[in-house]
């Protein structure tokens, strides 16, 4: 952790794949260590590009990104990368090993860990993700939710301090999405991880500590998830729909009815 307690400091970060078409324009924000931040916004607003910049997979065109007090650039990216894990959208395309255990071990092999330590860690994180019984399975024998669990286990096994979820739940069914959310909540509860999730999932946003809304390559709003779901115009601009319970609460209130105090409609 850095001295100022920040996992990320972004100072006027700009990025363009092509000089004529800037994707991100002078983004400045801080993400404290141990927090869970949701990056939301309509498709094409630059969320995934920002995730790749945060993960060191792309280099900024302008501005600076500081990761736990170290500036992220060409010289430091290899050193900082072990601190940052990334889980992507399609669980199939991030499955590198031929079996679950080989996939979890892939990142550990790159760290040159001794075999005994790798076996231990593979087992430990597979058990944590409840995929211990699937270690010898081929990816094609797994469901989407199981594959995404493998992806999370592969990242956790490398013991990073920061994890970026780039629409990690978008290709999962309802049940698998709920399971992934439970994992994220557990990780948040442990206090060991700084999490950045790029998501359209209302429940995931609601479970996070803070929502940063991107629009047209800039930060449009930086607020709590509860505040976001109260702001109808902002929700429309992000093409988001509030979770059912929040919509129900609004509907009850707009009809002039009072909710009993003991009835809690927010998550948690």
């Amino acid at each position: 952790m850095s001295e100022n307690g920040l996992a990320y400091e972004l100072q006027r970060v700009s990025f363009a794949y092509h000089p004529d078409h800037p994707v991100l324009h002078e983004i400045t924000l801080d993400i404290p260590s141990g927090s869970w931040v949701s990056l939301v916004g309509p498709n094409g607003c630059g969320k995934s590009t920002l995730a790749k910049l945060l993960g060191g997979l792309l280099a900024v065109n302008g501005g600076e990104i500081w990761v736990e007090g170290t500036r992220l650039d060409r010289d430091t990216v290899a050193r900082l990368r072990p601190r940052i894990g990334m889980v992507f959208q399609n669980p199939d395309n991030q499955f590198i090993g031929a079996t679950v255990e080989e996939d979890i071990a892939f990142g550990l092999e790159g760290r040159c860990l001794p075999r005994e330590q790798m076996v231990e860690r593979v087992k430990e994180y597979a058990e944590k993700m409840q995929i211990g019984h699937l270690l010898s399975k081929h990816p094609a024998d797994l469901s989407g939710g199981q594959k995404q669990r493998v992806a999370v286990a592969s990242i956790l096994a490398m013991e990073p301090g920061i994890i970026i979820f780039d629409e990690a739940s978008s290709m999962l069914d309802e049940k698998a999405r709920g399971e992934l959310l439970a994992i994220l909540e557990e990780m948040q509860g442990s206090g060991n991880y700084t999490m950045v999730s790029i998501t359209h999932d209302a429940d995931e946003i609601l479970a996070s500590d803070r929502a940063i809304v991107l629009g047209g390559g800039s930060v449009v709003a930086d607020l709590s998830p509860a505040e976001l779901f109260e702001d109808g115009a902002l929700l429309d601009s992000c093409r988001l729909i509030a979770p059912y319970r929040i919509r129900l609460k609004h509907a009850i209130r707009t009809r002039g009815l009072e909710l009993p105090k003991e009835l809690k409609l927010e998550r948690g």
């Binding site: 990334m86 590198i96 031929a98 080989e102 075999r115 081929h138 592969s154």
Partner: protein, 266 residues
Amino acid sequence: MRNKLLFGRSIDTGSWVHGVDPRAKLTGMVLYLVAIVAVQSWIALAGVAIFSLAYMLSTRIPLKYYLKAAKPLWTLMVFIFIVQCLAVKEGPPLWQIGSWTLYQAGLSSGGIAALRMAMLVSFTAILTFTTTPGLLNQGMNGVLKPLRLIGISADRLTLMMSIALRFIPTILDETQKIVKAQAARGADLKELPWKEKGRMLVSLLVPVTVSAFRRAEELVLSMESRGYIIGAARSEYHYLAWRQRDTWFVVSYILLAVASVAYHWI
């Protein structure tokens, strides 16, 4: 789709062959190839068949699995058989259809060639049936290490091969989805004549290739985010240790290859 594919799938029965070092198995398979290429007679074929059967039985994997492994290549075997029957015109004639005559030597060499192919495919399945993909990679890595002398990295080569193998079922699944999507729009491959099928194949190959490239790009990002650096040192998850049993395994194949080649020349 995966369930229909036996290729590249390991079946754990806990036999002693499963425990043989993958490097020994790979070396054995190369020697088996030498032996089978040298087979030119029914006696030699019978000898190699007995050897093959003994090894197949000792894997404790049902023989039907080996037969299934060779099944996808049956058209090639029939083709080889027909070509030999047409090309070899020695020995007494057996059958005449119009201007074409089937000779005894043609029938014999056709049978031997087709069976050699069947045996080769079935037998080499021992390698994939008794070795997990990870161990196979590591074995390949060990066998290909000398390639470093000519500037080829065995690590990169085996990683490429393992990723290619790993994505075969995924890409086959995707191909099936595209075929179904095209059929839903009225372009059903099954209903079309062969000439049209050929044309339609292009419209199938384009989306499959584009999708494969997209997958490759995402895979690269995933590898990079897990700290993969080309050429950087890596430790190995699977530990390979050469034992006396592995030496005897290879020796048995050397004897087979020598016997087969010697029989051919004598």
